[in-house]
């Protein structure tokens, strides 16, 4: 039974981020890949949408510059023929401050011929910003409008 593309991609991504070894991940990304990791790009320039392999590799290099993955736990995972969805709990270290950051991430990946052609990632970005700031953001409760 052939290994699902997600597992190869996941191993290569973690090797790229933690070991700064980009050789495997380069081979697993399609030239025309679409990538979207939404969030406040003014605070985190590596967030946002990207098109094409070079742009995505640049994002992965920026992730490697900023974070170390200490641990990850897949809480849900669904594998389709050429697609995958997972909910993953990441424990990261922000390299500039040495702060721990804990994130729950939803990932939706699509592959063609073993290469990534689409990746959409959603994060509880409000929580991410509060962790990066190291304090809560105080806003009024939206009891009637939210």
């Amino acid at each position: 039974m052939t290994e699902h593309s997600l597992w190869r991609f996941s191993r290569a991504l973690h090797r790229a981020i933690n070991d700064r070894d980009f050789r495997d991940i380069e081979a697993l990304i399609d030239e025309d890949v679409e990538w979207a990791l939404y969030g406040p790009i003014d605070m985190f320039p590596f967030l946002g949408a990207r098109q094409g392999k070079d742009a995505v590799l640049d994002v992965i290099r920026q992730l490697a510059d900023n974070f170390q993955v200490r641990r990850f736990d897949r809480e849900s995972i669904m594998l389709g023929v050429d697609s995958a969805a997972s909910m993953v709990r990441y424990s990261l270290t922000a390299l500039d401050s040495n702060k721990p950051i804990s994130l729950r991430v939803a990932q939706f990946a699509q592959f063609r011929a073993g290469k990534l052609i689409s990746m959409r990632v959603l994060i509880d970005t409000f929580d991410l910003v509060e962790q990066a700031l190291g304090r809560a953001i105080h806003l009024p409760k939206m009891t009637s409008v939210g």
Partner: protein, 148 residues
Amino acid sequence: MAMTVEQLNRQRVVHLLDAFARGDIETALASCTDDVYFLTHAPIDVLPHLVPRQGKQELRELWQTVWSRYSEVRYKTPHIVAEGEAVATYMHAFFKKRSNDRIVQFDMAVFYTFRGGLVAEMREIIDSYDLVQQVLEREIGPLIAGAD
């Protein structure tokens, strides 16, 4: 040819979303187990109605709250992945505010777990920073800077 469990569950999620989007809360609830569990990973101190919900009555109250604030709900679902008793959807959601007809537009991921053909668990992840800004109708950045 008989449908696979994945095809059935995928169809059930679409059915639930369609029912909710037309405001038919009871039909949407009929797709859920009596002890259905709902969890959104979002700032509940800011969006207090998004606290975890257990059971149909609590979920009914949440969905009624949403419909009391929004007059129109639409979804586009570019990605649905199903395996066994689990389905994940990536959605573009559009909610029209009753107060001023503005559209709140955000992306969300929902992970469904089925039991006996019914939804037993829903877990959502939302780009919550963007959602809060749209609901507040103001940028959060200046508020953060102002607190420094």
